[in-house]
Each structure stands twice: as structure tokens, then as C-alpha cells.
């Protein structure tokens, strides 16, 4: 029997984690797995449980995607592939399992049948990019025992930030979708800030293509309910911020600012979307007190006297006011939306723009051309 499958496309600040936790709390007596890609988000989910119900219910297990794959994907039925104990996982940022480089500098990788070298580093830690593939192989070799076991342990699997999954991760999602598990996925295709895999598998779905993947790659008899409305309203961003940020993804339905009383009370004196001259930067920081958002720790222009955060790090967080130190491609895109902005930069820019509740400022000297729609130039009050 195929369990119910659903993906909820969420706008930034729409209360994804709250929704997921509320869904989990509704389930009584049956075991629930909540999994997400990053450790920080895992911590946030746990935190959310404490905020909403004061504890994590006994039937709920929260674990990161990687530890889920090691604990339930690989270890239980690794016996058909290899014997030695897995000592953990090692995060890799490029294709793993390098055998040697040719004289021309071409890398040659260990083949899949060299299991200990293809999947593992010398101290038997599994490479992060190969982990989902290894889990899939364990499932195949054991005649589906891996998925069968998971579906009996966890009748409900809730995946947060599902857009972060790629490559063989998607095969695992597909296998879960085909199983008796009730699969609930929540994510925002606009916020793919972690490039998880360097596998070529499912490359075409790598950048926010999760919905297309579910539509195209699952058999007809495996229905997935695609919900684009439940979490379409941002409780965080003001209407202006919703409008300017949605422009980064014109093909997706634009997010709406929630206009309920609770969301809109206490709206600040200062709100809107601004272009901030570098000359006014220090003054702006002192008067508006925004969070500074930068691409990376080495980005120029940060005022060290005030708090600052990387784009990726800020994901899931909200601030009353933010000021963004844009990268060159982001600046170019602002002046002309037709310029090519790489998917990852686009996602990071979207994340940065949607951190602000009331105001967003972009620190750059604009010049004379007309300002982008929705933005106004910050003028120092005299």
C-alpha cells in the first residue's frame, strides 16, 4: 500500500517549521521521523517543539538527513555489500574517491565496485556525496529490506527544507514515496543554498527542481499532492519585500505578505526596500540598526562594530531590518533582471532579501539609471 505523499511549497517566512511541528504533534501513538539537511535546522525544529508544546513527544525522532541515512539507510543492511564498521561520515565539497590524476591533470576516480575506496575515506568514514547512493545500493542488495524496515519504524516521515536534497537523495525520497510511509515534504525551491552533491545524477533537478522531479520521475501510481497555497503567505516579510524578492523567481507564484492582525501589528516606523549609498552606510547602521548580511566572511564593506551574518547562515532566521552587501552578479541583476544570475547566487539573494520583516536595504552606489521597481533611495534625514 502506498502511503499519502505531499509536498508543501513554502514561501520564506511562512512558518514552515511551525507547520511541520504542528503536523507532527497531531500524530498520536505512531512514530514520526522529522529530518532536515542541516544541523542548524534540526536544532531549530527541536527548539520549535519546546516553544509550541514544551517537549519533544516520545513518538517523534528528529535527526539530520545524513544521520538518518547512516543509521537507517546504510548500517542495518550493509552486510550484503561490505562487512567493516562505518566510523562516521566525512563532508566533502568536491567529487570524492579520487584514485589518481593523469599526467594531463585529469582526475580518475575509484569505480563503484571498489566499495571501500569509492564510498569511504581511509578511516572508513563514508563520503557525504556518496552516502545516499550507498543507502540506495544497500536497499537494492537487500531486496528492499532497508525501505521495508524504515516504513515499519516510521509510519510518518516529515522532511524539512526538501529543496536541499539532490542526486541520490531524490531516489531515497522516491523510495519513501512508493512505500507505505506517509511522506510530508516542506521546502522552498527558491532557497537552494546548499549544493549538496556533485553527482551528475538528476542534475536537471538540482536547482529547485524538486517539484518537477516528483512530477516527472515517480511512477503514475505514486501520487504526490503538490500544495502551493498553504504556506504561500509570509508572516515575516512586508508586502514590499514579498514583491521585490518574488521577482527573482518569476515562474513561481509570488509570495504574499500575511495581512492578519498578529503579523502586522507593531509594524515599524521604518519600512520598505532601499538602495543605500556606501557613504550613508555607517549612519544607516547607527540609526536603523539592521543586521548586516554578507556573502562570506571575507566580503568587503562590513562594519565590524555591528553584527553581521553570511547569507547561508541567515537561512531560517528573521530580522526587523537587514542591510545586504551584494555580490557583483547580484548588483548586475538589480540593474537588469535579464542578466544571468547563477542559481546559487539567485537563491542566496532571495534568502537575504527575505530575512527582513520591515525593511531591506542594499548597500551599493546606484548611479543615475532608474532604481529597480519597488526600491527607493535612502536619504539621510536632515
Amino acid at each position: 500500500m502506498i502511503g499519502e505523499n505531499k509536498i508543501v511549497i513554502a514561501a520564506a517566512g511562512s512558518g514552515k517549521t511551525t507547520y511541520l511541528v504542528e503536523e507532527a504533534v497531531k500524530i498520536k501513538g505512531e512514530r514520526v521521523l522529522i529530518t532536515t539537511y542541516t544541523e542548524s535546522n534540526e536544532a531549530e525544529i527541536r527548539q520549535k517543539f519546546f516553544e509550541l508544546v514544551g517537549h519533544v513527544p516520545a513518538n517523534v525522532v528528529i535527526m539530520t538527513w545524513f544521520s538518518f541515512l547512516i543509521t537507517h539507510g546504510v548500517k542495518p543492511f550493509q552486510g550484503s555489500l561490505f562487512e567493516f564498521p562505518v566510523s562516521g561520515m566525512v563532508l566533502v565539497s568536491a567529487q570524492s574517491g579520487l584514485k589518481f590524476k593523469t599526467r594531463q591533470g585529469q582526475p580518475v576516480f575509484w569505480a563503484e565496485n571498489e566499495i571501500d575506496k569509492h564510498y569511504f575515506d581511509p578511516v572508513r568514514r563514508v563520503y557525504s556525496d556518496k552516502l545516499p547512493k550507498l543507502a540506495i545500493r544497500c536497499n537494492e542488495k537487500s531486496g528492499g529490506a532497508v525501505m521495508d524496515r524504515i516504513s515499519r519504524i516510521f509510519p510518518h516521515v516529515l522532511v524539512d527544507e526538501v529543496q536541499d536534497l539532490a542526486g541520490y537523495d531524490l531516489d531515497i525520497l522516491a523510495a519513501l514515496a512508493r512505500s507505505s510511509v506517509r511522506l510530508l515534504m516542506v521546502g522552498d525551491p527558491r532557497q537552494v543554498t546548499y549544493l549538496t552533491h556533485h553527482e551528475r545524477r538528476y542534475q536537471k533537478y538540482a536547482d529547485g527542481g524538486i517539484v518537477d522531479f516528483l512530477r516527472n520521475e515517480l511512477p503514475k501510481k505514486v501520487p504526490v499532492d503538490i500544495d502551493e497555497t498553504t504556506l504561500n503567505r509570509s508572516h515575516r516579510n512586508s508586502a514590499v519585500i514579498c514583491t521585490v524578492s518574488s521577482r527573482l523567481f518569476p515562474v513561481l507564484p509570488a509570495s504574499q505578505a500575511c495581512d492578519c492582525v498578529r503579523c502586522r501589528t507593531g509594524s515599524a516606523a521604518w519600512n520598505g526596500a532601499f538602495i543605500l549609498r556606501t557613504a550613508d552606510y555607517a549612519h544607516y547602521l547607527a540609526t536603523v540598526r539592521p543586521m548586516q548580511l554578507r556573502d562570506k566572511i571575507t566580503s568587503l564593506g562590513v562594519d565590524q562594530r555591528w553584527p553581521a551574518m553570511n547569507f547561508g547562515e541567515s537561512k531560517g532566521r528573521g530580522f526587523d531590518h537587514v542591510v545586504i552587501l551584494p555580490t557583483e552578479p547580484m548588483r548586475l541583476w538589480l540593474s537588469d533582471h535579464a542578466t544571468n544570475l547563477k542559481p546559487q547566487s539567485r537563491a542566496k539573494f532571495y534568502v537575504a532579501l527575505t530575512r527582513g520583516r520591515h525593511s531591506v536595504a542594499i548597500a551599493m552606489d546606484w548611479g543615475t539609471s532608474p532604481l529597480p521597481t519597488g526600491f527607493s533611495l535612502y536619504e539621510r534625514a536632515s
Binding site: 537507517h72 548500517k75 542495518p76 552486510g79 564498521p85 524496515r149 515499519r152 519504524i153
Partner: protein, 544 residues
């Protein structure tokens, strides 16, 4: 949820891997002392709880836990060209049942690489932390035992994940005759059993009440006054001296609460009663998500006959869905609990009465003789009482007057059931000698026992010579090939007349007398003051 199979490797008396399949309900493990009954119970309890003798084994590792043969093999290999890796103790429990609680423990992380649910308890060399020191130790060449200081214990599910007793849905209630006490004197096992009987909610409310009790004690105004006085009296330093309950310890309520029976602390009531109460408590646990395996060690030790009967009635009638594993060397217990459930254990060999071809026969038999055979170091099977007496006497004559039983040799009269007993003996590899008549046709006897012709443990003894004669008794030819005429043949009329106190004038007269007075004759021989000569086949049977 049941334990379907236990596999024990290198633990105590089990060299190599010992496998024991268990029934879902009652299991009665019978065996002599030192046959490894208790070790099985200990192993199951250890794998389910991590405890041995009521204490976490990880703090008490010694090389004595390891099988001596395995240890010697390892130590001797160290000086050679092919040293063995440090040996590991492994206890595997395979669970059966389809409950979802078991799914979490499922995987192929077991010695059979099978998709099963279960746990593995291991005592193994801690390679990760002690590789270097171990190498140095081996190089120094002074290793005479297993270096347990470099060992660690692990408890893992078949899914290769570390587990604790809490994660295992099968709880074990060990009821043994030793008394394992907690610091406050209360019995470890009764506390555990009570805790396992309780539901999670009930456990929480006890620990809540316990905490309140502690807090109330600390808040008591009298205590405050007393503490002030102590501080003044102490004057040892500027610091305050005070008494209080132990608030720091993480130990749960079960370590500081005591179990009372009619207001008497549990450990002060009789041992027998303790055993009965623990068993009843363990049997009463009724939970959906958990199952209980009751491990009962030699219940006959402290119980009177009537209490034992009561306990057995509880075990057979009220065990419900629980799995019970009992070790015993009491033939009474084994017999009462039914031979169906009997697992006979003997130096690593296992026989189940229910699997023997002769199982019907043994089930109908009183059971005592079955166990006598199973528990004997060696046995001599004879046909009847008179043979038994003569064989015993023959043994005494050859062994400075010692009865065979004093040397662990049991002489058992089995009537005509030789082959059935041999099946059991063969299954358990019990050394047995069979003393039988040749019935006037050695080929028939040879054919009957053909299966044991080359056996290293079974010795068939009969007279290869067929005697014949003209004597008739009640129109039937006299059988010259039973024990009595063979005895006459080995001795002579005068000797036997003296021993039996008869005055037979012909051999035939003596033959007829002995035929009519079998037992009396045998008794007279058994008590004879003069030496008797025994037929060769008897000598062969008693030979070491």
C-alpha cells in the same frame, strides 16, 4: 516478541559458538553441574541488560569470562608466526515476532547476515583506543592472559546501532539464587522487576513522589536548625557543614526505595519466598509494547516441596504469553514442567526430548531415568534389577569397593528400551555401556545395535558365545544365555552355592533356583563376602 535463538561465543564454558533455539513459552534447561545451564541464563540476561551479577559488566571485565580453551589458544599463538587476534565474547539474541517495536532492531548485523531483529552483546578488544599499547604489549612478549584492560563492551542492535536495555522491548527478569544487593541493601533484581512491571506513567509518578520526598526533607525546619548547630560545632573551617539527602546522584528511585513483604524488607524474608514473589511479579507484567523473558535459575534450591509445587503451577498455568527459561537439575521440576519443554544440556551438546524419535516414550516415562541418563558422566544400561546389582558389584570389585555412582557412573535398568535410551545418549554424546543378553543369536543382537558398532561413546557388551543345553522349564527350553547361567559358567556350582546359601547338587538345579529367585540371587551376589568371577562381557562394560 520472543527470544527465538541464543548464540554464545567464547563465553565461560562455551568454546566456539554454541547455539540454542528456544520455545516461545516454557523452556526447561536440564544439565549436570558445570554443564553451562547458568551460563545460558547469564548470557541472555547480559545481552538484554548489560548486567552480570547485578552490576554493569563493563566495569568488571576479567579474563575469567573468556573460555579457557580460547584464551589458551590465543596466548600460545602469540609467540608463533601466526598470532591470533585477541578473542572476543559474543552473545547474540535473535528475536521473533512482527511487532513494530522490533523493526528498529532489525538488520543484517548478525553472525548469519540474515534479515533479523535482535541484539549483539560483545566484549572485544578496543582497537580504536588501544591499538598502540596492545602492539607494545605483544612485542614485549609477556602476555599470559587476555589483556582485558584494553577491552570494551558493546551492545548493538542487528541494525548496527548502539542500544541500551531501555531500547530493547524484551525485558529480562532474572530470578537467581544468589542475592545481589544494591548499596542500600535492597535486592537489585526485585527492583528491576518492579520497575519493568510498571507503565511509563507510573514510573514517572514514583520518581516525582520520590523527588518531592527528598525536597521535603531538605526543607524541614528542624533540619535547618540541626545544620546550623553542626556548622557551629564543626568549626573546621569557614565553610558550612550540613547533612542532606543525596540530591546529586542521578540514580533513580529504584536504588533508594526498598521492597517490603508484609512490612519486612524484601532481603530479610526467606530465600524461597523471595524466589516465589519475584517470579509472580515478573509473570504479572502486562504490557503491549514490551515483553518479558523470565529467567529462573534452579528454583528447587530454596523451596520446600509444596512451595515448589506452587511455583510450578504458576509457571505452567499463568505464564500466559511470557517466555520462561528455567535451569534445573531437579528431575522433579523437569518432570513436572513437562518433558516437551525439556532441553538437555551436556558439555555444549543439546538435545530436546521433543525432537527425539523416542519422544513419545520419554514423555510417558516418569522422567527420572531420562534425567539420570542425561546428568550422568557415564552410564551403564542394563535390563533389570538383578543385572544392575551384579554390574554394581563387579564395578566395586574392580575399583577398590567404590560404587559406580561415586565415580559418576550411573547404572540404569531400562527394561527393553535400550535403543530409546541410546538415542538420547547418542544425541548428547554420553559415554554409555549396554549390558545385554545375546538371546541365543548374536547376529540378531549385532543387527539391533549395528548403528553403534563404530561409536566412540556407545559400547555394546554381550557374550559372543551362544550356550545351549537340554534343560526344559515348563515344556520350554531353558535360556542358557541370561546373566545367571553365564555367572554359573564363569564361576562354578560350589562357589555359587556358598554365595547363595544353596545346596544344589546339579548345575541344572542351581539354574532353576536362580531363574526363580533372580533378585535374591543378585542381592546375595552383591553382598557376597567372597570374590565372584564375572563373565567377560560384564568386565568389558565396567572397564574404564
Amino acid at each position: 516478541m520472543k527470544i527465538e535463538k541464543v548464540k554464545i561465543t567464547n563465553f565461560k564454558c562455551y568454546e566456539g559458538t554454541f547455539t540454542l533455539a528456544l520455545n516461545d513459552g516454557l523452556n526447561v534447561i536440564v544439565g549436570a553441574n558445570e554443564s553451562g545451564k547458568t551460563t545460558i541464563l547469564e548470557a541472555i540476561h547480559l545481552a538484554l541488560t548489560g548486567l552480570l551479577h547485578g552490576r554493569p559488566l563493563k566495569n568488571d571485565l576479567t579474563s575469567y569470562l573468556f573460555n579457557l580453551v580460547a584464551q589458551n589458544k590465543y596466548v600460545h599463538s602469540l609467540g608463533t608466526a601466526s598470532p591470533l587476534p585477541p578473542p572476543a565474547i559474543t552473545i547474540e539474541l535473535f528475536f521473533s515476532g512482527s511487532s513494530n517495536e522490533l523493526a528498529e532492531l532489525e538488520g543484517d548485523g548478525n553472525s548469519e547476515r540474515a534479515k533479523r531483529s535482535g541484539v549483539v552483546y560483545k566484549i572485544e578488544f578496543d582497537e580504536e583506543n588501544y591499538k598502540g599499547p596492545y602492539e607494545e604489549l605483544v612485542k614485549a612478549g609477556e602476555l599470559t592472559s587476555i589483556p582485558v584492560e584494553y577491552y570494551t563492551t558493546t551492545m548493538r542492535s542487528f541494525a548496527r546501532k548502539g542500544v541500551t536495555a531501555r531500547n530493547i522491548p524484551i525485558k529480562s527478569a532474572l530470578i537467581d539464587s544468589s542475592s545481589t544487593r544494591l548499596q542500600n541493601g535492597s535486592d537489585v533484581y526485585v527492583s528491576r522487576i518492579i520497575r519493568d512491571v510498571l507503565e511509563e506513567k507510573e514510573r514517572a509518578s514514583i520518581s516525582q513522589a520520590h523527588r518531592k520526598l527528598k525536597e521535603a526533607f531538605v526543607a524541614n525546619p528542624n533540619l535547618k536548625l540541626i545544620n546550623e548547630r553542626i556548622t557551629q560545632a564543626a568549626k573546621i573551617s569557614q565553610k558550612a557543614v550540613s547533612i542532606s539527602v543525596d540530591l546529586s546522584s542521578q540514580t533513580a528511585w529504584e536504588n533508594s526505595l526498598m521492597t517490603y513483604i508484609d512490612l519486612i524488607p524484601f532481603q530479610y524474608i526467606g530465600k524461597g519466598e523471595q524466589c516465589v514473589i519475584k517470579t509472580k511479579l515478573a509473570l504479572s507484567a502486562k504490557k503491549n509494547a514490551e515483553a518479558t523473558a523470565v529467567l529462573l535459575e534452579e528454583p528447587e534450591n530454596h523451596l520446600s516441596h509444596t512451595r515448589l509445587n506452587e511455583l510450578i503451577a504458576d509457571l505452567t498455568e499463568k505464564h500466559g504469553q511470557k517466555q520462561i527459561i528455567i535451569s534445573t537439575h531437579s528431575s522433579f521440576v523437569a518432570n513436572k514442567l513437562g518433558l516437551d519443554h525439556l532441553i538437555v544440556l551436556r558439555s555444549g551438546e543439546v538435545a530436546r526430548i521433543s525432537e527425539l524419535e523416542a519422544s513419545d516414550f520419554f514423555k510417558k516415562l516418569a522422567g527420572y531415568d531420562t534425567l539420570r541418563l542425561a546428568l550422568a558422566a557415564k552410564a551403564i544400561l542394563v535390563e533389570g534389577d538383578s543385572d544392575e546389582l551384579v554390574v554394581q558389584r563387579a564395578y566395586m570389585d574392580a575399583n577398590e569397593g567404590r560404587l559406580p555412582i561415586q565415580d559418576g557412573i550411573d547404572v540404569i535398568s531400562v527394561g527393553t528400551a535400550f535403543l530409546r535410551f541410546l538415542e538420547l545418549a547418542d544425541a548428547l554424546k554420553i559415554p554409555v555401556a549396554v549390558v545385554t543378553d545375546n538371546d541365543g543369536d548374536t547376529t540378531v543382537v549385532e543387527k539391533k545395535y549395528a548403528a553403534f558398532k563404530d561409536s566412540s561413546t556407545v559400547r555394546i557388551c554381550f557374550d559372543p558365545v551362544v550356550d545351549t543345553g537340554p534343560l526344559m522349564v515348563k515344556d520350554k527350553p531353558y535360556n542358557y544365555n541370561t546373566l545367571e547361567p553365564k555367572l554359573l559358567k564363569a564361576n562354578d556350582r560350589a562357589t555359587l552355592n556358598a554365595i547363595l546359601g544353596t545346596s544344589a547338587t546339579t548345575d541344572d538345579e542351581l539354574r532353576i533356583h536362580m531363574r526363580a529367585n533372580k533378585t535374591e540371587s543378585a542381592l546375595a551376589i552383591f553382598n557376597s563376602k567372597t570374590a565372584v568371577t564375572y563373565p567377560d562381557y560384564i568386565q568389558k562394560a565396567i572397564a574404564p
